[in-house]
């Protein structure tokens, strides 16, 4: 057995005599023949019977993603607004968020462990750090692409700089901001599969418990990608909802 760094997490299959990848307690309770015993590519019956094992990790995964993306979004947009006003801030912030993006997630989790310990924070800090660059860059580009005419019209209506930002510039930059948010969200769902290393659980947890049972691997992979797809679609819908003028123009 190869003990993992996370306490109590073991790669169970090596010690297991009944079927590759299955935990010993499962094999004692169930007859493992047929698809499961032969480790078929995907055993529908097993997946249907054991689906409840994945429900908890699924929602934990969603929780990790939601906290990470929301935190990253707030920080990135705040940084973008700051550098929209002070242009000189943009290059160092782009560089800094780029450096964060380069740190491999596995290394990032374990670099934080001595500082933040096992748990949610150690998973959320790297995941939100990875979202910063794409959201920051897209927000900045979105704000820069606002037509000068629209800003002039706003000023002509007597708007203050603050009103101009909230009522003209940010709404017109929304498509780019959401495009960045979509990329960040989808990537975060995928990387959160490693959050178990930080002791935060998620869909990586059932995955690592049965590492060579094909049905388990595929089920985790499909659930993760399904979550990414659904969140992506929700963001597309959200964009249509918050930018109704674009629908009119398209129609």
């Amino acid at each position: 057995m190869i003990p993992l760094a996370a306490e109590g997490v073991l790669l169970a299959d090596a010690a297991n005599k009944c079927a590759p990848g299955l935990p010993a307690d499962f094999c004692q309770k169930h007859e493992v023949t047929g698809c499961v015993g032969g480790n078929g590519l995907f055993c529908f019956d097993w997946a249907a019977d054991n689906f409840d094992r994945y429900v908890g990790p699924f929602f934990r995964h969603l929780e990790i993603v939601a906290i990470s993306v929301v935190a990253g979004f707030v920080i990135a947009v705040a940084l973008a607004l700051l550098s929209h006003r002070h242009r000189a801030l943009a290059p160092p912030i782009l560089g800094g968020t780029g450096v964060l993006y380069t740190i491999p997630s596995v290394a990032f989790f374990f670099l934080l462990l001595p500082i933040t310990g096992f748990g949610l924070a150690t998973a959320v800090i790297p995941l939100s750090a990875y979202t910063l660059q794409i959201i920051y860059r897209n927000t900045l580009v979105g704000l820069a692409n606002v037509p000068p005419d629209a800003k002039d019209a706003g000023r002509g209506m007597g708007m203050s700089e603050r009103q101009l930002l909230w009522r003209v510039e940010l709404p017109l930059a929304t498509p780019e901001i959401i495009a960045g948010l979509r990329i960040a969200t989808v990537s975060t769902v995928a990387i959160a599969s490693l959050a178990f290393l930080a002791g935060a659980g998620g869909l990586g947890q059932p995955l690592i418990e049965q590492v060579s049972f094909n049905t388990n691997i595929i089920l985790v992979g499909v659930l993760t990608m399904a979550m990414a797809l659904v969140l992506d679609l929700l963001l597309v819908l959200a964009q249509r909802f918050v930018t109704p003028w674009r629908r009119v123009r398209a129609g």
Partner: protein, 240 residues
């Protein structure tokens, strides 16, 4: 909150593990030190290099041709977007389970993960090349492959290189996970706390992060080198 002193202790211990050999926690063997760590780093670099070369050999020609003829946008761009949603650890585990472990098989799994960013960036970069430039090249009597290699590829090189950087970093990062399926990469230090101790785990994380940064810096340098002088000048005048 963890006290500052113990955080400093942890990092001092990790650097000691990187610099000096010591007895393993489990006893008997000597672990740690630069030479010991290098053997794991070399495996990780080797498997990453093979995977990147494979991904390049497949995705680059496909992206160049599709971008040149301007077809397959849905495939080239959609593949890149879908690729982001794939949990890398599941791909590595599934391929290890189906075709077994070993350097070649892990390189195959990593190579597949490297395809989307290279393909998408190559396609997009080729489409962004100014059409009038391509028309001029064709008007001069260049053959299609000459247009691709001598006009479009140089102009598209910076964006293509950005895709290769993304792929290289993804591949190197995921090669860490290969230690879960038995290939002795730097991830070994992280998965075997019982052998290497806390110092070894943190040392592994530090070495992985530093190597990733070095790869990124090297490729950023290559990107600068492959950017045609005209494009660099254009950027300078545009930002001025």
């Amino acid at each position: 909150m963890i006290p500052l002193a113990s955080i400093i202790d942890a990092f001092v211990g990790a650097f000691d593990f990187i610099l000096h050999q010591r007895e393993a926690v489990t006893g008997g063997v000597q672990v740690g030190g630069p030479e010991y760590i290098w053997t794991f780093a070399r495996t990780q670099l080797e498997v990453s290099a093979v995977a990147l070369a494979g991904a390049l050999a497949v995705a680059l020609p496909v992206g160049l041709v599709l971008g040149h003829i301007g077809k397959g946008e849905f495939f080239a761009v959609g593949f890149g977007n879908a690729g982001r949603a794939v949990p890398e650890i599941a791909v590595v585990f599934l391929l290890a389970s189906l075709i077994g472990i070993g350097l070649g098989n892990v390189a195959l799994a990593l190579g597949i993960l490297g395809l989307p960013p290279i393909l998408t960036n190559t396609f997009v970069a080729m489409r962004q090349v100014d059409r009038t430039t391509v028309d001029a090249a064709e008007g001069m009597g260049m053959r299609p492959w000459e247009v691709i290699l001598r006009v479009e590829l140089p102009l598209a090189a910076p964006t293509i290189m950005a895709g290769i950087r993304t792929a290289a970093i993804n591949i190197f990062a995921t090669a860490t996970i290969a230690s879960f399926v038995g290939l002795s990469t730097l991830g070994d230090f992280i998965t075997n706390r019982s052998v290497y101790g806390d110092d070894g785990v943190l040392a592994g994380a530090i070495v992985i992060a530093v190597l990733a940064a070095l790869i990124e810096l090297t490729l950023a340098g290559v990107q600068w080198l492959v950017t045609p002088r005209g494009v660099k000048l254009q950027r300078v005048t545009r930002s001025a």
